[in-house]
Subunit: 112 residues, 2 copies
């Protein structure tokens, strides 16, 4: 089954996952909630490749979770800010944060 098929699933959880159901997308949202908005910030913070990052940002914009915003006209630079729709996923990430703190202790050295 493909992503696109999931978006019309009877289950609202499945439809949500068709947008945010992979680790990179959720890490982008985490960064947004931490105040980041720029491509380079996401790339450095999450450790994902620029290739994947560009693709995920594109989808988040298409789905209305983020908005691509021109923040400098010369040179042209765009960043990404949360929409209200995107803001409403914040509580889910907060639960994951608390769960990680409680159940997933760091075993070795922190990397990034």
């Amino acid at each position: 089954m493909k992503w696109s098929e999931l978006s019309d699933n009877w289950c609202p959880v499945a439809r949500t996952l068709s947008v945010v159901g992979d680790r990179w997308t959720l890490l982008i949202l985490r960064d947004c909630y931490l105040g980041k908005s720029k491509f380079e910030e996401f790339a450095e913070s999450s450790g994902m490749t620029r290739h994947i990052l560009a693709e995920r940002l594109k989808r988040l914009v298409e789905e209305g979770v983020l908005e691509r915003r021109l923040y400098s006209s010369a040179p042209k630079r765009y960043d990404y800010v949360l929409t209200e729709k995107g803001e409403e996923l914040r509580p889910a990430l907060r639960i994951m944060k608390d769960w990680g703190k409680k159940h997933m202790p760091v075993r070795r050295e922190a990397k990034a």
Copy 2:
């Protein structure tokens, strides 16, 4: 970057995602919250391949989110039940459910 590297990330959200950060895993949890516990139930309900399902169940058991339980000794049959650790992710799925209902209307015909 690989899954395994994420599990020692400084960020608790990232560590959480190293366990549940893909759509199939989260759909398995959804099914658990709906009362399902059997391999065949997960396979049919989510539409994922048996191959992937077996792998994800294995990891969820290793991580202590689910418990593999012998529910019939002859023939030997196992099912999967939530641990307390697994139960504590339920609120995150509830938020995704509400978000999906609000922001992801079904456009075409529901399939599964």
